[in-house]
């Protein structure tokens, strides 16, 4: 047991820094061209564009320490925007449940970021109780297509997505977890209607998606008919570790300290306020512990064993830390945290701080609300049996 980086790890860290600095965005450059080029260059490094993919599918086969170094270095620099839906969530499911044809058809465009995906999970009547979904998929008489009808809600990035992976109901005669089928289809077609939902911070990132008589060929089904719940749950596992966001929180906390240091308070700054300082300290301590919980989780994953019980807490702890960071950033704005127009007043971060705080309230709701997460841990990790009375 030791904490030092080996000579190889130090060399890797240097290589990562050189890569990130060498491919950094230059002002005036065409953003999209830079973005695509960045992923291409990362790919040429040997799978750095898809760090979590297994080697057989072109991933880099990094050790836990290398993943940790990558996360740390990328969090502290500007990297191209990326969505988790394709590379982090759908791809592992295609690798596990997809046919060879599906893998060959979809993985390359996921990897190159040419195709953006969105996640058709929640419905107006199926939030935390996801298995209650009603979007119907009916097989045509010739057995070649499904006809899909229903409504999805809270669909992040549906308005910029090219494709959707969608949970549908193909059977409602048994348990609600049975009879779910996992389908893939394009967004840009008749019968798919996307309506924006504006959230508390004024942002448009989620949508309502109405699906009317959309025809999906059977070869776009992942896994067997009525067995989509296993795929759906497997994907959530990947979603949940992804949204802990520890490395980003480390950077966010440093930014917060800097901002608070610029806020005047009496003769000093807000960082001289013992109450505020105490909250920052508690946050930093929780983050330090969570960072090591993630390292332990990475280590057990690479040992090939099932994720240790510590992995299950990352989403809960990670989102709690993100919310507290956002809250303290808003608090740092003081009176100016109320300024909301196009013309802002006070410190530059004040309005963004408030917007960020409001947006962060979603972190403990999506990807399995924190209360659902606790139910899952109680049952699957702690093995608490319910008597069913």
């Amino acid at each position: 047991m030791d904490i030092d980086l080996s000579t190889e790890d130090l060399a890797f860290e240097k290589e990562v820094r050189e890569f990130l600095d060498g491919n950094a965005y230059k002002p005036g450059e065409d953003y999209n061209a830079w973005r695509m080029g960045w992923f291409e260059a990362a790919r040429e490094k040997g799978g750095w564009d898809v760090p979590k993919w297994p080697q057989e599918f072109g991933g880099p086969g990094w050790s836990p320490t290398q993943h940790y170094i990558w996360q740390k270095e990328t969090a502290s620099r500007t990297t191209p925007w990326d969505m988790p839906f394709g590379t982090v969530m759908l791809a592992p499911m295609l690798m596990q449940y997809g046919t060879k044809e599906q893998q060959e058809r979809f993985l390359p465009d996921i990897r190159s970021r040419k195709v953006n995906w969105c996640q058709g999970y929640s419905e107006p009547g199926a939030g935390s109780d996801l298995a209650n979904l009603k979007t119907k998929a009916e097989l045509t008489d010739d057995g070649q297509h499904y006809i899909v009808n229903g409504t999805k809600i809270w669909t992040t990035a549906a308005h910029i997505a090219d494709w959707i992976f969608c949970l549908t109901r193909t059977d409602d005669s048994g348990r609600k977890q049975e009879g779910i089928t996992f389908l893939l289809f394009p967004m840009n077609q008749e019968g798919v209607e996307v309506k924006p939902i504006i959230t508390l911070g004024g942002a448009h990132s989620v949508n309502m998606v109405h699906i009317t008589d959309v025809k999906v060929p059977v070869e776009n089904r992942v896994g067997e008919e009525n067995k989509g719940w296993a795929v759906a749950k497997g994907l959530l596992q990947h979603e949940r570790t992804g949204i802990a966001g520890i490395s980003n929180s480390i950077v966010a906390l440093e930014n917060l300290k800097q901002k608070a240091g610029t806020v005047k308070r009496g003769n000093g700054s807000l960082m001289d306020d013992p109450g505020f300082r105490k909250k920052i300290a508690e946050l930093e301590i929780d983050l330090m512990a969570t960072e090591f919980t993630e390292l332990r989780s990475l280590a057990s994953a690479s040992a090939g064993t099932a994720p240790g019980p510590e992995s299950s807490i990352l989403k809960l702890k990670g989102t709690n830390i993100q919310q507290r960071t956002n809250k303290l950033t808003m608090e740092a704005g003081g009176l100016y945290s109320a300024a909301w127009g196009d013309k802002t007043a006070g410190p530059g971060f004040a309005k963004a701080g408030t917007a960020g705080y409001l947006a962060s309230r979603a972190y403990t709701i999506y990807g399995g609300a924190s209360e659902v997460q606790r139910d899952v841990i109680a049952k699957n990790v702690l093995g608490i049996k319910r008597s069913g009375k």
Partner: protein, 374 residues
């Protein structure tokens, strides 16, 4: 970077774990606590024979050359059984001060006995007024020829009544709060002028209030440099904090697991208590805080093993987190056990009391949060 135990460490972990589960049932533990001195002398000798006391000492001092990670492995298992034997006072604190600050002759005279269990050390660092500040020292030591003469008082010294020697911090120069001017001495417990009042602590262990009246100690018994004892004491206390936190993490694991077991057996309103979601969520929180404390323990222990006092800030973080969350876990365990949690019949209450005492050792959660934020 890796989290794996070496083969030797795994053997030690298994051996300590077996010893604790064989010997430390609650009833036997309470019997040992009632013996003179508050622990079982045979166990003390067995531990020495199994080589556990030699772990953190260098090979030159007759030990196995281990570090804080080895102590952590032992202490986490001790925490599961509420082990009473004075491993921390003698091996980690007293032994830690002698191995760092003792002259060649003093180390050769003392450390073999510490490792074979024939000597038992402890550390007197706190005073009535000092609360948690190591630098707040009134007890004085005045040079007189080849000796120093110590006068003053030390508070809440663990296992002092069975100790052969006490490591004492005393002021050799400077004002009451100055970090400079503190010197550490190894004082034989039977030296003339040493007197103590000994009593049980709430967790079933033993402590003493010690008075020093014109106690004469040879300058050969100075640990480290005269006036520069604060740095040495700080290093020793870091090890003590790591050891106590490892113990607390072991205790927290037992508390959350015992609670899960109990709530699945206890039936109320025609349901096992574990059917109730509000209790499930509380137990998930207990489990989470245990895992977080374990993560921070690994982090702080590995950092101190790698870079010593440079990792002090992480140790503040650890002591804060363990103090705060171990008491949350302890209070929750008592709450979920209901009336039974209030009795001395179950392990729960004993674990809880030990965690309260650990929080107060070397600075509580608030104290270390302030240090961390400073």
């Amino acid at each position: 970077m890796n989290f794996d135990l070496t083969e030797e460490q795994q053997l030690v972990a298994d051996s300590v774990s077996r010893f604790v589960s064989d010997n430390y049932h609650l009833e036997s533990r309470q019997e040992y606590a009632a013996e003179p001195g508050g622990f079982k002398k045979e166990h003390w000798q067995t531990m020495a024979e199994l080589g556990w006391f030699g772990m953190p000492f260098s090979e030159a001092d007759g030990g196995f050359g281990g570090d804080q990670v080895d102590t952590m492995i032992i202490m986490e298992e001790f925490g599961k059984g509420l082990v009473l034997e004075p491993f921390v006072p003698s091996i980690v604190l007293g032994g830690g001060a002698v191995k760092r600050g003792g002259s060649d002759a003093l180390r050769a005279a003392i450390l073999p006995g510490v490792q074979d269990g024939s000597l038992q050390l402890t550390l007197g660092y706190a005073e009535e007024q000092s609360r948690f500040d190591l630098n707040d020292v009134i007890t004085s030591a005045k040079a007189d020829g080849d000796d120093f003469v110590i006068n003053g008082q030390k508070s809440m010294v663990a296992n002092a009544e069975t100790a052969s020697h006490i490591v004492v911090s005393a002021r050799t120069s400077g004002g009451q709060m100055e970090t400079d001017g503190i010197t550490l001495f190894l004082v034989p417990a039977d030296a003339e002028g040493v007197s103590m009042d000994s009593f049980p602590t709430v967790d079933g262990l033993r402590a003493s209030e010690i008075t020093f009246k014109d106690v004469r100690v040879s300058k050969d018994n100075v640990l480290g440099d005269v006036d520069q004892g604060h740095g040495l004491l700080h290093e020793v206390v870091l090890d003590g904090i790591l050891a106590h936190c490892a113990e607390a993490v072991g205790t927290m694991e037992m508390l959350y697991k015992d609670t899960i077991e109990y709530t699945q057996e206890r039936v109320q309103f025609d349901h096992p208590l574990s059917d109730f979601q509000v209790l499930q969520h509380r137990m998930v929180d207990m489990f989470m805080e245990y895992e977080q404390c374990k993560s921070m323990l690994l982090r702080a222990t590995m950092e101190v093993a790698a870079s010593g006092v440079d990792a002090t800030r992480t140790v503040h973080a650890l002591k804060h987190l363990v103090g705060k969350q171990s008491i949350f876990v302890g209070e929750s365990a008592v709450q979920l056990h209901g009336g039974m949690g209030m009795t001395e019949e179950l392990r729960i209450g004993h674990y809880f009391k030990r965690l309260l005492v650990i929080d107060a050792q070397f600075g509580n959660a608030d104290y270390h949060l302030q240090k961390f934020a400073a």
